[in-house]
């Protein structure tokens, strides 16, 4: 990355040496995992550029927008309603991190048996290497799993602007009432932060922006039904990851452009993998940048990933928000309805998730499911065994993988994934 960003990173008080080291690892990983793929759609060039500038140009844009009076809100979860943020001309960025960093510092604050995702968010903060968290005017934590909600008690002393949102754990009338109260409270907090009163027109606009982004992703997802596959799972995952960082209008346009290209490929029966390559659905925990380990293992072992049943994937993007309401109240109800359908494993019971996995297997013609659980992620690991049983009862082969962000288990994972693919052939 160019020298002109140095002063920008300094102004955000990043640790330049550590940050350089992180960018080097990220660049090398991207080279080995992404750029090494063959026959990628040309439109992925946009995402290559986004990734090469993820701590550069994108941060400059955010800082320019801040200078022009817009606020930046950081979030760790798909439950934070982006519609409300956009309605106040603010910007939502994802803060979830997908790499181990500053592990020793993290373990001074968090128990060792905390999942990689939480540890990583702390590591990026403590190691002073995340320009997003440093640019944020407000950081939203949310009471999902125990690990996250307890860790926010500790994070609040590390950042000046943590806002904690409570979330229901049961899909009941009381649960919905809680979500409603929390979204109303969040709307007020955003209004206070931005100094903008959110009216119906603004809320409608916010819904439109976010819905457009989702529609583009749906279009991309539905093109993944094709055989031969016109795009790799790694590339589609990247689009789902960039969903959380990019300027929404530009993201929407870029994804649609790739879709135009993929439609032509499909017409010509062109693919990134041969026809009848075993097709897998990934289901489970989210994969934040640059956590590409498992998809990389899968797609270098002779299979293609055709869908992600994950927060960074369809769990996060499923369902549009109804924009037919005309008052703030009506539109807020629509937003609450939309988010209340998210089938996160913190809910008990959570039968919708299993239905969605089966639905996705059928829709994308997957030959099997790999359940991805982050080590120490209680909600998804707890669900993994019943999910495996239920899928196998429907004759859907399933492989359960528990892993973390480290690379030491790559050999064993490769053996398991390869054996699973051999089994499907």
């Amino acid at each position: 990355m160019s020298e002109d960003y140095k002063s920008m990173w300094e102004s955000l008080e990043l640790d330049l040496k550590a940050h350089d080291a992180l960018l080097e690892v990220l660049g090398k990983g991207y080279q080995d995992i992404y750029l090494a793929q063959k026959n990628r759609p040309e439109g992925m060039g946009y995402f290559d550029f986004v990734m090469s500038e993820v701590h550069g140009l994108r941060i400059r844009e955010l800082l320019d927008e801040k200078a022009a009076g817009q606020k930046v809100i950081g979030s760790f979860c798909v439950f934070v309603p982006e519609e409300i943020v956009r309605a106040a001309d603010a910007i939502l960025v994802g803060l979830c991190a997908g790499a181990d960093f500053a592990g020793e510092e993290v373990e001074k604050l968090l128990p060792r048996n905390t999942c990689s995702l939480i540890k990583s968010a702390f590591g990026f903060k403590l190691g002073k290497v995340c320009p997003y968290i440093e640019s944020a005017d407000m950081i939203v934590g949310e009471n999902t799993c125990d690990g996250k909600k307890k860790s926010y008690e500790i994070l609040k002393d590390l950042v000046p602007n943590l806002y904690v949102m409570d979330l229901p754990q049961v899909k009941s009338a009381e649960g919905r009432a809680l979500l409603k109260a929390e979204f109303v409270r969040f709307k007020e907090a955003v209004e206070k932060l931005t100094g903008i009163a959110i009216d119906a027109k603004r809320l409608k606009k916010g819904i439109e922006i976010v819905n457009n982004k989702r529609k583009a992703i749906y279009r991309l997802s539905s093109l993944r039904k094709a055989d031969p596959p016109s795009i790799s799972g790694l590339d589609a995952l990247l689009a789902n990851q960039v969903f959380f960082y990019d300027n929404p209008a530009r993201f929407t346009e870029s994804v649609n452009k790739i879709c135009d290209e993929l439609e032509k490929r499909i017409e010509n029966s062109e693919g990134v993998f041969p026809k009848e390559t075993p097709r897998l659905l990934l289901s489970g925990c989210p994969m934040a940048v640059p956590n590409w380990k498992l998809p990389w293992i899968i797609e270098t072992s002779g299979a293609v990933i055709v869908g992600e049943e994950s927060c960074v994937g369809e769990r996060g993007t499923r369902n549009l928000t109804d924009d037919s309401g005309t008052t703030v109240d009506e539109l807020m109800e629509a937003i609450i309805d939309r988010y209340f359908q998210v089938d996160c494993a913190i809910f008990t019971p959570n039968p919708d998730r299993l239905d969605h996995i089966v639905e996705m297997v059928e829709k994308y013609q997957a030959n099997g499911v790999i359940h991805y659980g982050l080590q120490f992620c209680q909600p998804y690991l707890m669900e993994s065994m019943p999910v495996e049983k239920a899928l196998e009862a429907k004759n859907i082969p399933t492989l359960r993988i528990d892993t973390d962000y480290s690379m030491e288990d790559v050999g064993q994972l490769k053996t398991r994934v390869e054996a699973f693919i051999e089994m499907l052939k």
């Binding site: 053996t415 054996a419 089994m423």
Partner: protein, 249 residues
């Protein structure tokens, strides 16, 4: 046609050559620190038309020899069926991995379980524990069988189990009884894995740990059935790879 299979494991390398389904050659060497050179040495003077690699070092071999590969899971499935055509369940405990594999009546793998990254319940675990108790690996099983009662070892983690063993030794406990307890803990884990693949019918036990009589005895006791141990349990993966080598081209 001579078909060779080479199984490059974490501890040992096995080479098998089949001609018309008959084993005409089998060789073994330690993997050492440079398994590829060891593999090359093992192949010296061995004639074959096709070769396939399996085991932990298969991709290393693939790069140097441009040979096809198969996972040890499938190789063990095929190898076991060649030796015992009706086998439906395979337990393989090797140097750093343990696996339970379920086959359908045609021999196709329908489910498998494998240990994750740690060495719990593998040959490495037994090796470290034998060392901690001052036994040679070869005598570890027979010594354990001489115990009249066993001490329960609770830690499955190699590191924790080692300190548990050290503290038992310090308490003056009998070393054979500790050894029996350690063997039993490996068996408990293996039985758990077998149950997760819901085993059916005969159980075929392979991998280096199948050479340990104590483990075999305890397994039969825990499963309440006889298990099948081939004459050369470490060769099964190489046999499977050799069978496949002939079919792939």
């Amino acid at each position: 046609m001579r078909c060779a299979g080479i199984d490059i494991g974490s501890r040992t390398i096995e080479l098998v050559v089949l001609r018309n389904g008959e084993i005409i050659e089998n060789r073994q060497a330690d993997s050492g620190f440079d398994p590829l050179t060891r593999a090359k040495k093992l192949l010296m003077g061995v004639g074959h038309d096709h070769i396939m690699a399996t085991g932990y070092g298969r991709h290393l071999f693939e790069l140097s020899f441009d040979a096809p590969t198969v996972t040890e899971i499938k190789a063990y499935g095929i190898g076991a069926r060649m030796l015992f055509p009706n086998v439906r369940t395979i337990l393989d405990i090797g140097g750093q991995d343990s696996k339970a594999i379920a086959l359908n009546e045609k021999g196709k793998i329908i489910k498998f379980e494998m240990n994750d990254r740690c060495a719990a319940g593998t040959g490495k675990f037994l090796e470290i524990m034998a060392h901690a108790l001052g036994f040679g690996l070869d005598e570890f099983g027979t010594e354990a069988l001489m115990a009249t009662k066993d001490l329960r070892i609770n830690s499955m983690c190699t590191v924790f189990a080692e300190s548990e063993v050290t503290s038992l030794v310090a308490k003056g406990e009998n070393r054979r009884e500790i050894a029996l307890g350690l063997h039993r803990s490996v068996v408990r884990r293996a039985v758990g894995m077998l149950k997760r693949v819901s085993f059916d019918g005969n159980i075929f036990f392979a991998g280096g740990v199948a050479k340990n009589f104590c483990i075999c005895n305890l397994l039969e006791e825990a499963l309440e059935q006889k298990i099948i141990v081939p004459r050369d349990p470490q060769m099964v993966g190489a046999i499977g790879a050799a069978c496949l080598a002939g079919k792939i081209r």
